[in-house]
């Protein structure tokens, strides 16, 4: 789950990481009222889950109520790389002496947590990694040991931050690691982490990705679930508990298992088609799940044919076939369907489907053949 900046800052604040006082608002009037409470100057910041909002004009300094009104009016509703701005974050502007970068994430290769710290902040860290990799001080942390203050102090020295920033940075890094681990985050990133002329260190931005698998021990994360950015199709699938990713093509894809679904999307491409989606219905493939999947896909106006790719393991082919037949009776589908059914009891399953076959419901014996048929139907 990706958090908006304002959510990330509230998340940081709950771990005592210093952030600027601010408020999230959705109207111009509320923006002005918030600024009046916070005090001037304020920064008006577009809340979108995409980089480059500053360049797009989504971050503006305002010294008065009139300026807040103008900027909030321009930014609310603005389109930034396909994301519409619905919320702005109004925060007290900070004086900046220096800008740093700090983050924690999992290094899947080392199977340890990776901390990155750089005296070159405020720019894309990928760019720093390209041009000046030595400017990023890395630390690998064993999850069993965690990050101690001594480790953090040495790390800050390795990163060559301004000595004035050392104590403040150590304090924030230890807290940021706590937020990362106790908060079950996939990523906690501060860019920029700033040193103020007064010597304080402070998180000026917040990028946080939380692990959706951890919601059982963080019931408050439900609130972030509600603000996830999904297109209409993804939202509908999510509501039905389906693993769905929207793509741009015309062949709807349903498969059981993430790997097989990925593979199905690939094969549609290989034979010259364009998949409309990735959809994994999991192991069960019963009538309810299949009906839900068909509903989501047939509501996508771009879909011109549907490719159902099922491999029966423990779930038997005849059960899957019955599920498909029942589901098709429940959902109105106007585009042709191609089914490839293999694995356990595939013959029994195919026999059950046989009497239902028509131009609208075809069967193929291999993945490649099914993909070719589905693509031909989509482009016909």
């Amino acid at each position: 789950m990706d958090l908006y900046e304002y959510q990330g800052k509230q998340f940081f604040a709950s771990y005592d990481i210093p952030v600027s006082p601010g408020e999230a608002v959705t109207t111009v009037d509320d923006a002005v009222a918030a600024a009046e409470r916070i005090g001037y100057p304020v920064v008006v910041k577009a809340q979108v889950q995409v980089g480059g909002r500053g360049k797009a004009g989504g971050i503006k300094l305002a010294a008065s109520a009139d300026e807040v009104r103008t900027h909030a009016g321009n930014i609310l509703g603005m389109d930034i790389k396909g994301h519409t701005v619905e919320t702005v974050w109004i925060e007290l502007a900070s004086d900046i002496a220096e800008e740093y970068y700090a983050s924690f994430t999992l290094d899947r290769s080392a199977k340890k947590h990776l901390g990155m710290l750089s005296a070159q902040g405020g720019v894309e860290i990928e760019a720093v990694a390209e041009t000046d990799p030595d400017a990023i001080a890395k630390i690998w942390i064993d999850p069993v040991d965690g990050l101690t203050e001594d480790m953090a102090r040495k790390w800050v020295q390795d990163a060559k931050l301004n000595p004035d920033a050392t104590d403040g940075a150590v304090d924030i890094l230890v807290k940021l690691y706590r937020a990362y681990t106790e908060g079950d985050a996939d990523l906690t990133e501060i860019n920029p982490l700033i040193l103020k002329p007064t010597g304080e260190v402070h998180a000026l931005d917040a990028k946080v990705t939380l692990d959706g698998n951890s919601v059982f021990r963080h019931p408050d994360y439900e609130q972030y679930e509600a603000t996830q950015v999904r297109d209409e199709r993804e939202q509908a699938a999510h509501d039905k508990g389906l693993q769905y990713v929207g793509l741009e093509g015309s062949v709807g894809v349903i498969a059981n298992g993430a790997g097989l679904a990925m593979s199905t999307v690939d094969i549609v491409n290989q034979v010259g088609g364009k998949p409309a989606n990735f959809l994994d219905i999991g192991g069960g493939a019963n009538a309810d799940v299949m009906a839900g999947a068909l509903e989501v896909i047939s509501n996508d106006p771009e879909v011109k044919s549907i490719f159902i790719n099922i491999f029966g393991g423990i779930t038997k082919g005849d059960e899957v076939a019955n599920g498909i037949i029942t589901a098709m009776g429940r959902v109105q589908i106007d585009v042709p369907i191609v089914i490839r059914l293999d694995g356990t009891n595939a013959d029994e399953g195919r026999a059950l489907l046989q009497p239902h076959l028509s131009d609208k419901l075809q069967m193929a014996s291999t993945m490649v053949e099914a993909a070719e048929t589905a693509v031909a139907l989509a482009t016909a």
């Binding site: 999992l106 199977k111 990928e126 990713v245 993430a258 097989l260 990925m262 990735f278 491999f311 694995g343």
Partner: protein, 300 residues
């Protein structure tokens, strides 16, 4: 022979009394696996279809001599279940459960490595392991796997994806190729057992003649496997990577299957494998055909 598990492996099922644990535990027993015990602190002293239930893995090991455990505990309990199994004395742990938080996985991976170096963990979020004809631990349908055939060339399988594992087993069976062991390492960010662990074991296994490796987008495990193959493997490897067309930044079902920051793409993985001498198929069927070629070439 086989890798990691065979007919001598005695397995305790953590969560045997739950619906999933019972269903697969009994299926695994029917297959021939030595399912010797289950655990549930509240139901110790009872049994599941004749399989005795103990309060803990430690007690089960003491009473039955179990050497492996299979975890069907819901995600919130997996961290404790893994540690209970290691402390209880088993040396092979199969965690089937999906949805385990990444921080738990990173923690118990490192904890096991440090305090229980003799213990191998497979998973979490994996279909398990099957050595056809010998043992099946997990959720794979046993009958889609062909037993290894003496005097012929047999194949080992390692895969990140469950259904693609089944697809691989099934296609090899259709082509009359026997499988020594099929390991599903799972699609999570911190798998207990890696591709390299399996490749190393297959290389050392005298009855495995070639290896089929199914990977997917995300992380760099396939690239690391490619480096291992180039340096250490004498046996031929055939591969397939799922997710060629996955868009960056979108998780494709598995927690680990994501292309981020331009890393973890299928193309990069396929290139690395090909450079290591691996034959790479564009889809599971093509990979199986490549394996048929390999087996025929080995047979001369």
């Amino acid at each position: 022979m086989a890798i990691f598990v065979d007919e001598t492996t005695k397995v305790v099922y953590q969560g045997l009394t739950g619906s999933q644990g019972r269903f697969y535990g009994l299926l695994n027993r029917d297959y021939g696996t030595q399912v010797v015990a289950g655990t549930n602190p509240k139901k110790a002293g009872t049994d599941v279809d004749g399989i005795p239930v103990y309060a803990s893995v430690g007690e089960a090991v003491e009473a039955t001599g179990a050497t492996a455990s299979c975890i069907f505990i819901p995600a919130p309990g997996v961290k404790d279940a893994v540690m209970e199994a290691a402390e209880g004395g088993v040396t092979f742990i199969v965690a089937i459960t999906e949805g385990v938080p990444a921080h738990d996985e990173a923690w118990f991976f490192n904890k096991l490595k440090r305090d229980f170096p003799q213990v191998r963990l497979l998973g979490p979020n994996c279909p398990g392991i099957i050595s056809p004809g010998k043992a099946n631990i997990g959720i794979t349908a046993g009958h889609i796997a062909k037993r290894p055939v003496e005097g012929r060339n047999n194949v080992g399988i390692v895969s990140r994806s469950g259904t693609l594992t089944y697809q691989a087993l099934y296609e090899l069976k259709l082509n009359d190729i026997g499988v020594t062991t099929c390991v599903g390492i799972g699609g999570d960010p911190v798998p207990g057992t890696s591709f390299i662990d399996c490749l190393e074991a297959f290389e050392a296994d005298p009855v495995t003649d070639a290896v089929m490796m199914f990977g997917e987008i995300g992380g760099s495990a396939e690239e690391e496997a490619a480096a291992f193959i180039a340096e250490k493997m004498s046996k031929p490897v055939v591969s397939y990577i799922a997710g060629v067309t996955a868009p960056a930044g979108k998780k494709m079902g598995h927690a680990g299957a994501i292309v981020s920051g331009g890393k973890g793409t299928a193309a990069a993985k396929m290139d690395a494998l090909q450079a290591a001498g691996v034959r790479v198929g564009r889809n599971p069927t093509e990979a199986s055909q490549l394996m048929v070629d390999v087996v025929n070439e080995l047979a001369g």
